[in-house]
């Protein structure tokens, strides 16, 4: 009996303690898993380490442990959880204003990431954001969130994502196809501020060559360590813009200028 109580207390302690570690100086990656899915952080961390990342890697726990549906429909859009993550980022910035902070989320975890960015104080920014198989709407307006991103926001998208194809509603509550299937779309009649924001948003659509790095186009294989280490890490660990990247704005302009034959 005592043993069971001890295990239960330990589990509760672990669950509450996750994502609340004390801020330390140095580069930091904060990763948020998907709804009811707690297995992706290992691959992401391993991929980053393989690519030479030596900073800290934290998994921010936002799950209710009541199953994927509850996480997706309730927690992902919770302002309280978003604020909790925002406070974590703010605390890190206070401890070390110079070192990089990278935010990464999978599926519904990306809704929490975007919510947290919107909740950040005006002068606090993260360095980059990576949204894996995002279950927020492709029409989600990123302008406010991007004001708190110094560099670029990368969003992976795959039309082969069967989980997103079957979603009855997006994690952010907005309509339209999920960004994890079709990428983010530049809002119509966008203001100058919005265009500036989307000029730093890069969609990484699935392509067959990514299969060689473990991303088969499915929902969770995007966090394969080889894909993270080979495709994502060079983009976020370098200060220079990645040559292959073309922002949502640039691609929209190119489409308008000369429609593909």
């Amino acid at each position: 009996m005592t043993r069971s109580v001890f295990i239960a207390v330990a589990l509760v302690f672990c669950a509450t303690g996750a994502g609340c570690s004390r801020p330390q100086s140095g580069p930091l990656v904060i990763f948020l898993d998907g709804a009811g899915w707690y297995a992706s952080s290992g691959g992401v961390e391993s991929g980053l380490r393989q690519a030479g990342y030596t900073g800290r890697f934290e998994t921010f726990s936002w799950s209710s442990y009541l199953g994927p549906a509850h996480d997706h429909f309730v927690n992902a859009n919770s302002r309280g959880i978003g604020r909790r993550l925002a406070r974590r980022i703010e605390a890190q910035r206070k401890v070390d204003p110079e070192s990089s902070i990278h935010l990464m989320g999978l599926s519904a975890g990306t809704a929490v990431v975007l919510r947290a960015l919107q909740e950040l104080p005006k002068d606090v920014q993260v360095d980059s954001v990576v949204l894996f198989s995002s279950s927020v709407s492709s029409q989600h307006n990123l302008t406010r969130a991007m004001a708190h991103v110094k560099g670029r926001l990368y969003a992976t998208a795959s039309t082969h994502d069967a989980i997103l194809a079957g979603l009855p509603a997006n994690a952010d509550g907005h309509g339209g196809a999920p960004a994890g299937r079709v990428g983010f779309r530049l809002p119509t009649a966008a203001s100058a501020q919005t265009v500036e924001a989307y000029d730093r948003v890069v969609v990484l659509p699935w392509q067959p060559s990514y299969m060689g790095f473990g991303w088969t186009g499915s929902h969770t294989s995007v966090t394969d360590r080889r894909f993270v280490g080979t495709v994502i890490a060079p983009r976020i660990l370098s200060h220079e813009p990645f040559p292959l990247d073309r922002s949502v704005v640039a691609r929209a302009e190119a489409r308008t200028a000369s429609p593909p034959s």
């Binding site: 392509q207 067959p208 473990g214 495709v231 060079p234 040559p243």
Partner: protein, 362 residues
């Protein structure tokens, strides 16, 4: 009942046909891979992967990606040498598309974009219009660069030194700027790192008489049937110097008049900071050699087609695995200081597994 049967038959036929289409790309890729054409194999596997996301295709892509990236990089460097900056840009983007973590391609692309923006404007706009996914898959619709074809399909013919001056001239822009060779003299560091050819210690090795450089050739001739000329290393015209470069002091002087006649390679023209000879069988030359900035080259193998496998190490860490490098092709690597270097395979003597490699700054 009959109409149902027909529908079922049609569906079955369609399904089998679709499978055949998928298999066709995979099969063609497999054949190309068996031929050693990684680039073509990679493209075919990509086409196969677009239709069938199977584990076999994924494994094939993983297998062929390094070779395909190497081929594109070699062709890109050749295009750079010839002043075809748009083609070089496209090929370097292909390198990145195949291997996004390629250590040197991003820097080369940035330099090209900064120094030759006008030349690459069209190809860049085309890339933007097609989207980042278009590079690999569009290979079928694009003409294969002539240089790449030449590198793949034919063994370069020996070049008379007199004709070297008639090689295509490079853009004047290449004479200056970051893309130009820096014209550095291999200084004390080169000398310190340089490992001279080891003296022959084995009794089985031919003894070289002082002043009689014909011995090596004579020995090679003795091993062959009478009347057959000794097989020489396949010489390739090295790229023309991009600027005034002083004669490097670190150049390895090969034994005079042996099968690797240095003058035929233009080594003393000073276009390489250093020229190394590595061999697996000829004991006069090392198989593993420390070169500039503490980078180590290790010769793995040569084959009858003149292709060479070698590894590049920074300390104990392998930073590059070069496979099927053709004579005349180049690969890049980064020194400890962050400087970009290119190594060009100048020649191969397959029988003795001996290769000659020139290194210079990018």
């Amino acid at each position: 009942m009959r109409s149902r049967c027909k529908i079922v038959m049609i569906v079955l036929l369609a399904l089998t046909g679709a499978d055949c289409a998928v298999d066709k790309h995979y099969r063609v890729g497999r054949e190309a891979e068996d031929r050693g054409d990684s680039s073509r194999a990679y493209d075919e596997y990509c086409r196969s992967g677009a239709a069938s996301r199977s584990g076999a295709v994924a494994a094939a892509l993983e297998r062929t990606a390094p070779g395909a990236a190497d081929e594109a990089e070699s062709a890109a460097i050749t295009a750079l040498d010839q002043g075809r900056y748009d083609e070089a840009w496209r090929l370097l983007m292909r390198v990145l598309d195949i291997m996004p973590n390629h250590p040197n391609a991003p820097e080369l692309i940035r330099r090209l974009e900064a120094e030759h923006s006008a030349e690459i404007a069209l190809v860049s706009a085309d890339y933007l219009r097609r989207g980042s996914a278009a590079l690999v898959m569009s290979a079928e619709s694009r003409p294969v660069p002539a240089t790449a074809l030449a590198l793949r399909s034919t063994r370069p013919a020996p070049i008379d030194p007199a004709t070297l001056g008639t090689l295509p001239a490079k853009s004047p822009a290449s004479a200056k700027g970051a893309l130009a060779a820096k014209g550095r003299v291999a200084g004390s560091e080169t000398s310190r790192n340089f490992e001279p050819p080891r003296p022959m210690t084995s009794a089985k090795q031919p003894k070289e008489k002082p002043g009689d450089g014909k011995d090596a050739v004579a020995l090679a001739s003795a091993e062959k049937p009478a009347g057959r000329a000794p097989r020489e290393m396949t010489p390739v015209a090295p790229a023309k110097p991009r600027g005034p470069v002083e004669a490097p002091r670190g150049v390895i002087k090969p034994p005079p008049k042996d099968s690797m006649d240095a003058e035929r390679w233009g080594d003393d023209q000073g276009e390489y900071l250093i020229v190394h000879t590595l061999s697996k069988r000829d004991r006069r030359y090392p198989r593993v050699l420390r070169t500039l900035e503490g980078i180590t080259l290790e010769l793995r193998d040569t084959d009858g087609d003149g292709e060479v496998d070698l590894d590049v190490f920074d300390g104990k860490r392998r930073i590059k695995k070069v496979r099927d490098l053709m004579p005349g092709s180049s690969q890049t690597y980064r020194g400890k200081s962050g400087e970009l270097y290119r190594m060009t395979l100048l020649g191969v003597h397959h029988k003795s597994h001996t290769v000659r490699i020139g290194i210079r700054a990018m």
